[in-house]
Symmetry: D4
Subunit: 247 residues, 8 copies
């Protein structure tokens, strides 16, 4: 933190007190009234701010994409709809949309990628959440190994992928219904496992509650959990862990 | 059903109408006022009635054990405490108590056992429930193969027992916390799997709710669920299935 | 298990080590990337793999039906929509759809059926789930006896069907709202009862939770429970039990 | 209501305004500070106020019993402990305690009883709640017919009691675990059924929640529900209904 | 019960055994396969069977209305949609529909009504459920007094209706959100109060759960509860109570 | 209270008893049958009655707006839809609609505003609820300071607004998902904080339950909670507090 | 905030930069390692910090009381046990304990009290929570009017206290079971009502959940809710509101 | 994986087929019947197996400690009671017990520690869980920085520790009640944050559910959650992450 620098400037008279006061207040974000954009995030954490598109009123969304794109040349958004894609494209023509993951982004070409994050799913229906995680990790600079449809009801499918699983710095286990995938993986691997419950299922899955509880009660070591369907959160956290490993 | 026989007797005058009426009412049980003992159960289903000891007032409990013992020469009770054992023993000295399974019984010697039921647990703490299941199945005439502490967080422990698992006519999978054991077993075996969630765990296990939901949402085929900690119910049902197989 | 055979081949030099390694990995399934088809299931368990249609993206669904149909000549799918039927039919013209059970299948003609499974419902609204169960059991080779609208609020309707109930090797009890049907049936019969809670109801039925809890807490012996609305799971399990009985 | 009378007295000058004001405020109860005793209840509703003993601090409890006893010559309390019995007895020696129902009361001898309320239980463990209901109804002047241990898992026990069930003006159905008793009874009888869920059970009974939901979702007509273990409430309501019938 | 009569006929040879057997089975209902119509209900309980329209497949619904109408000349159905009204009208032109209560019925003209049931609501939004209750009670022969929008947040509105409330043999209290109406009414009246929670509300009302719990926990005496939005159940039960009072 | 005055009039004969009785009953509201309008509310509490538009049948809604507008010249409604706006406008052309807050009102011009209420949100998606609160407080005569998108995940945004927060007489903290905003604000300010959980979020937010529980468990002092999404309730209560402060 | 002052001192050289840095860090609390005591609280908010005794390890508790007492001459603690009282008394002999409210405090004599807070309870069992609220408000300088046992099941008890209720600047409504007290009070008064659900009750009260939901769903205006049994929180908040009123 | 090596030995005849089969089965653990000890864990993952003491029967517990101690010279156990400590000490005299964290261990002296994990708590009552986490991380070779009692209700306490927070490779945030600590920390730091909800609290904290939901719904990036009170799991996972960082 450079409060010390600023205080030195104040002491030496190079900076006015009013100016210092102002700086302390306004430095961290750009205020649009309805939103406060955190352009300093990238400096502070090495990650730019991400846009959660779902439910954002149209004019706000477009403005936010434009602002980020103008300043950073790239922008990542999640949970976007087809309609939001069309809307943003009219202002930021470079924007790209993936209808499986629902990611809406502009990404700078030829980013360097380092280290490896594995993304596994229990079934085919968990792929949208897995792709949100995988594409987030790729956007922030990870290699991603996708290992899909390896649920524990047919354990041989998972066991045959052991080598790929053990090759990663961090594993994301995406599963709905019973959600036991993360535990078995954590028992096979020795790196951190991030479990993502999905709302896939019916009846007593209670929209993901079942998978969530399973994962929280995992008997395995080295596993933690994010919110139901929160592929983005898992991809972000996996990137942080992967960066520590490749640093 | 022998209603027809009885009607024939009525028609032929061999049985009085009042007597027939009485029979239809009184046949099925012995009425102690506070309890109605179903001595015909054994005829009807091939299983004697079982005593759920927990919460039974002392005089009732003792009387019920005495009645069953006198008529059948054997009696099975579950969820008994050490104190209840002492109490019943003073009236039925042959009664035996197992402090792990909490089963309190008199069992006729040298029963024949047929077919095989496997009883598996995820961990050591699930053993009391597993023993309630195993001893129930043995009491009703099954061979039982105990396969304990094979939870899915260390999948190799379970995989090395595949042959024993595949050898059974029915498998009981007992597990708390995340409760994923049943699914993996059902994926390995081709006989019915009865999943028993246990209240083992803490925090978000919510006294067995987590394991219960996991089991209900199992992605595997051929699996069904009984109440939390209901080892007796699983042992009874496994016996029914085993009898069908060895019949 | 034929690992021993394979090891013998390796020892005798008839099989290369690399080949053995490959076999151990690739044997169990065909990998489509987004899905791993388990063609060996039928060998292992006597049941082909079933397709859970709901939520499957269109191109995946069509491809999966085509693959299974080509290899096995028949395929069973559940929870299909009218639209999915039209879609699959364009590629597999032999496919048939039942709008009550939502089953989408190709079935080989003149299958032999053995043994009997009874399927009961509490009310008329439970019939779709019951039909999913009944048609699954029929597909896998059982005779099915349908006993519908015999809920316990008018107990005489159920009692008059006692003979049919006692004639089955396994009974499926399908009920929503209060869900007490399974208990009364299990008290009348001496074979296993599979209880299926349905989401039929309103208010405090909480989408099937009420019926689910009722069934889990059944005072009867010989009863187990599957997920809310899980007719398929009940039909599958009933078939396993029926096969043990007629074997 | 006699506000009109009072207003007449005010108009005629027979009552002072201040006095009228006071009356309107103080008429309905005796204020002990920590409690407001409603001595007018008996006039208004035909029932004296009942004491819920559980959790009442000792000095309050004793004082309340003394006050009621002095004024009315009798008093009914529920959920009393053995200790509270001893305590109250030291001040009101006539008080009587029943350790099953936990009712602590002084009752005037040779009360007249009219009409009939039937009290049924699913099992033996439900008897304490049933007795709270039965003794409450008796205290307030009903005949009570006790029909215990007639749970639906052995439906013949209940069916053989049909005549007694149909003889009542109101039926109280007390059951824990799955709680289906009320529905079957309501299907057999044509008078109001009050269902009382009990906390008897374990695991997924969730301390009575399962039985409560079952009862609320009953498919039968003519059934309503009170709180878990609320035998008193059921006994009171049954008395109201019985009084309407015998009036 | 006339089993005795039948047995006498059997004994005297006036009835064949087979015929008696058949009678015992077929007497109670007409079997349509998908539904079992209980035409004897009216004899047994004094109430004809009611049709729960919601979710009934169209051909079933029409057939059931036709059958009941042909035999009884009247029929009562609940939770019907506008579309179902049009459908049934094409076969039973006399049928009438009320879009507030969603009741679809044919009712015989100039029915006699006896006794009084009061139906109260907390707010205007509770009226549809209240009307289902009120019209059910009227159909079965009660006078109904409607007292709407008297929620406890403005207690003077309720207090000014005290006389009407005290005039009824049974009171139905319909309320959503906090659901306290029933308690206050039960404190003012001395007849049975049936509380109906409604799903009116938002947020932490959890679709009627809040009102349901409030009512179950009522501190008042003489109150019981039916399922959320179950106006029909309340109307039926109120009629039973009212009949006892006017009998 | 002026009961005394009225009693004096009765005593002196200036008021007839019947008239007094009538007054006591009819004074408080105007009865439309389906609704009881509380015109005296403004006198009693200083606030006119507000219309909760959601779910009100069209003719009722229009009539209620017309009645209030005619008598008071202004009217406030919440949770109105675009369609309801059009409907009411056809009868009360002065009515105005805000699509963000969904407030539908006629407001008298140039109202005086006193004191200050601060309304804060965690994110942009919480603004609709915040605006319902803010516009309610403004309607009832408060100045409102809007401080939006200051969620605790970027604590510097909130800290930089400390002065504005400390300037208010009451603060409304609106937040979904984790809902921690209120606690941090209450730690910074020394006036009452009203926390409003919103249904913004997904997965384990359970439609606002998560935020609600967070707020109820706040470790801070001086904070209380209203229902999920209840901006109106917060705005009303804040006004009451603000009035006490500026009085 | 005096950051400006400090910056002025830094500019003028009267304060060293290091010193300023240190101040910004250490100013707000005294660090005991296991606890950080906020002595500045009183300055900032006008309230000293309160000790939540429950669960505090003995040596920590004693030390914390000693520290606060030494610096401030008074200290307020809640949820203390008899044992903790004895323990603290051995070090701070002036400490006083009230076994009903479980408050453990040293209070300076002859504090001035201003304004009035009313504390109401539904029943006698709610008094401990009410006393925690009342004594907290008194400690912080309010007059408190206690109005106990005025639950809505006997509405006349509450109505007769209308004048006392309307005399307060803020009302605390404490109730368990159904929890409707707050709504009725808020309808009678025009000042803020703080509703405190209590865990008093049984069965479906779910340890206070029922009362909590009732209060959150209140139809009345001007009401907010604190955590179950949180008398302290209500007392604190009421004091803040009362201070605004008497300021 | 060394299956290849083993297959080579089989091919060359150096290993018998039976021996290979045996190896594949028995390699991974030592079977005590009631437990399967995973001595290979340390090789596989770099962590020895840990003993969850709570609920382990005495003879099992002692035996397990002895086995591990004999083979590895050290052993870590969690959730041990004072009694279990005495018991194990009688067999393994070197064992040490910490009554705050409830950790029971033998640890080899002078272990090297690398990298830094920060452990923060919201309050003093969260320290036992925090210590379980901290001592686990230390046992597995991390430096730990303890930052206790920095809950968000007094945000300045946390902000003043910013430098220590930013110095860690991984942060564990332990908090009960509202549980917002993790979010604020994740907003300040740029390394992974593991949130541990604790069961500290009362009322609507529902034994940690409130804090759990808060953490799962965190608006911050880079945060994941473990089970309620699962300090061990957090300490283990933090160690994995820290090892990746210092590797």
């Amino acid at each position: 933190m450079d409060i010390k620098d600023m205080l030195n400037l104040v002491k030496s008279g190079e900076m006015e007190i009013q100016e210092a006061e102002q700086l302390l207040k306004d430095l961290p974000y750009e205020d649009l009234g309805y939103a406060k954009l955190d352009h300093h995030r990238a400096l502070r954490s090495g990650f730019g701010e991400t846009v959660f598109c779902q439910g954002k009123p149209d004019p706000y969304l477009v403005e936010i994409y434009r602002k980020f794109y103008e300043r950073d040349g790239e922008v990542l958004g999640t949970r976007a709809s087809e309609e939001q894609f069309e809307l943003v494209k009219s202002v930021v023509p470079e924007v790209q949309y993936d209808s499986i993951s629902r990611i809406l982004k502009v990404e700078q070409p030829e980013k360097e990628r380092k280290g490896c994050v594995a993304v596994c799913t229990g079934g085919t229906a968990d792929i949208p959440v897995a792709e949100e995680a995988a594409q987030t990790a790729e956007y922030f600079g990870c290699h991603v190994d996708r290992i899909y449809d390896v649920g524990v009801a047919g354990i041989h499918r998972l066991l045959s992928q052991r080598d790929r699983i053990r090759n990663a710095n961090c594993i994301i286990a995406v599963a709905g219904m019973e959600g036991a995938l993360g535990t078995v993986i954590a028992g096979l691997a020795d790196c951190p496992v991030i479990a993502v419950p999905t709302s896939v299922g019916y009846g007593a899955s209670f929209h993901g509650l079942s998978a969530l509880l399973t994962m929280l009660n995992s008997c395995a070591n080295g596993i933690s959990v994010v919110n139901i369907d929160n592929g983005y959160g898992a991809g972000y956290l996996a990137t942080q862990i992967n960066r520590l490993a490749v640093k």
